[in-house]
Amino acid sequence: MSPRPLLELRGLTHHFAKKSGWLARRQRVVHAVDDVDLSIEAGQVLGLVGESGCGKTTLGRCVLRLIEPTAGEVLFEGRDLLALDAGALREVRRQIQVVFQDPLSSLDPRFTVAAAVAEPLQTHLGLERNDRRERVRAMIEQVGLGEQHLDRYPHELSGGQCQRVALARAMVLQPKLLVLDEPTSALDVSVQAQIMDLLAALKRTYQLTYLFISHDLGVVRYLSDRIAVMYLGKLVEVGPTRAVFGAPVHPYTEALLASVPIPEPRARRWDFVLKGTVPSPVNPPPGCRFHTRCLLAETICRHEVPPLEPVAPDHQVACHLRTPFVRKETSP
């Protein structure tokens, strides 16, 4: 019996209503996240990858209830966050913190570094000024900044330093789970490496659990224990990092990995390029959502939604053709 996961999503769904047409008389539904089951064990890093519009950011926000999911459950330590009232939710949010992509827009330009990092201590714990100062100073050092940065404003800091401040602000309440939404995507590669190493160190020191959302497969591989691949609001493959990167099963995962340029000169196969673009999530294709771009697609893929099925222990794939029990319906 494995331990209860720290975070468990059951049938998580979020549909946006999108008004369109003359005077918004027509209403269309954007299927941003559709029936996602996912869990993260305590102390693990789950990397959530996919291209823009696949729903990975919406999923991250649903976990925090920054967006109210349309349906499903978000279980944190066994409690359904969606059932909590405002007071109880606030208690839980102390345990779940978030870091966004662009620190310059997530940090208040009128707050000094010290004030930004101290704010959660005041709102959540009601600490006195002197106690706050101590905790802030200790946290700032943990993220690799120093005394001299405390009284600076965000615009006086570099992108990497700002992201360190955002991390300190998230970490100062000693949360159990951090949702990291593209935390290094706005940074240069040399600075990105510094932040990645910091994230790895913080995780070790505090036994943190990360939901790490990114479009950058290299970054995700470096930090994650498990990988979940999303396409058009659905999970297509979930499994241990080694397995997903080493032997991807879903054709989309395979194509995605083949598309990433690697800094090693090699003969690039330009014919192995995924055709077409991601269809609109307003009217997602029926059946397997990837069938419009899949080189293998057969009749069944156009009609039936493939369920996530195990292909190895802890490794699941949603593909009619690549899971071990190929359906008989495919043959006439």
Partner: protein, 326 residues
């Protein structure tokens, strides 16, 4: 040897600001041969975009070229009159940018914008321009040219818009295409499509591409030669394979080691310590010395020349100086 298509000699560009003069480009030398796919790679602020703009005579105000020459097809770009420059831009050189949506006018159809460019630069009849536009749509892999020419930019995806921009850039049959981060705003699967298209066009039309990017992976997979810029100088230049397999400048090495790989496990990313000097042009020693693990007294006293390490591979680092000269 034949004259290279593009030769940049000792280029210096400075920006006059209220806080004083910021020297962004500090002596860049580059030669790009006809038919090359040449990569210009570096981090934010290293001067790669400004260098590209300078080739078009488009250095943004308050910047200006303070020293150096740019030769394109044997012509001295910096001495051209505004009229000659305009003809150059629509003729011999074309440039595409990171965000195609901001390069196109939202209130005109993509077809009319392309036709207008063709008409403006090549004259002739509208009908001929339309036919040429249709041809170009085909060439860049936009199907159903007739329908797509009638749509507005917001109706197309980022990848398709970039194809429209490439069609526009190709309309004058330029000898040099400057591509400034053309795939940075796109998803990886779409990026792969655009890179494949540029490769195909280069093979078909023998066009020379100056590819500006921050992504070492793209350089490794698409460019024949590469120059690594640091603080407005060329740190290292050479055949892509040599530069990646045997980097001779500590900055190049550091950059390559900092990239997390999707194809292998890495225990530790080697971050480059410190930050880029804020006004590097004021320094009279190696600009990388303050961040370099190998730096010694000489590196903090004078600037290294570009030392030849064979096969057109050069690195501006005293480590590469011949034994006697260190």
């Amino acid at each position: 040897m034949a004259e290279p298509l593009l030769r940049i000699e000792d280029l210096h560009i400075a920006f006059q600001t209220l806080a004083g003069e910021i020297r962004a480009i500090n002596g860049i030398d580059l030669e790009i041969e006809r038919g090359e796919f040449f990569g210009l790679v570096g981090e934010t602020g290293c001067g790669k975009t400004v260098t590209g703009l300078a080739v078009l005579g488009l250095v943004p105000k308050p910047g200006r070229v303070t020293r150096g020459r740019i030769w394109l097809n044997g012509r001295d770009v910096l001495s051209l009159t505004p009229r000659e420059l305009r003809r150059l831009r629509g003729g011999d050189v074309a440039m595409i940018f990171q965000n195609p949506a901001t390069s196109l006018n939202p209130v005109f159809t993509v077809g009319s914008q392309l036709v207008r460019v063709i008409h403006l630069h090549q004259g002739g009849e509208r009908r001929q321009a339309r036919a040429r536009a249709r041809e170009l749509f085909d060439a860049v892999g936009l199907p159903e040219a007739d329908r797509l020419m009638g749509v507005y930019p917001h109706e197309l995806s980022g990848g398709m818009l970039q194809r429209v921009m490439i069609a526009m850039a190709l309309s004058s049959r330029p000898s040099l295409l400057i591509a400034d981060e053309p795939t940075t705003a796109l998803d990886v699967t779409i990026q792969a499509q655009i890179l494949a298209l540029l490769h195909d066009l280069q093979a078909r039309y023998g066009i020379t591409v100056l590819f500006i990017t921050h992504d070492l992976g793209i350089v490794a997979e698409t460019c024949g030669r590469v120059a690594v810029l640091y603080a407005g100088q060329v740190a290292e230049v050479g055949p892509t394979e040599a530069v990646f397999n045997q980097p001779r400048h500590p900055y190049t090495r550091g950059l390559i080691d900092a990239v997390p790989r999707p194809n292998r496990d890495v225990d530790h990313l080697a971050a480059i310590p410190g930050t880029v000097p804020s006004n590097p042009g004021l320094l009279d020693h190696c600009l990388f010395a303050s961040r370099c693990a190998h730096a010694w007294a000489r590196c903090r006293a004078e600037q290294p020349a570009a030392y030849d390490v064979g096969d057109g591979h050069q690195a501006a680092c005293f480590l590469q100086a011949p034994e006697g000269e260190r």
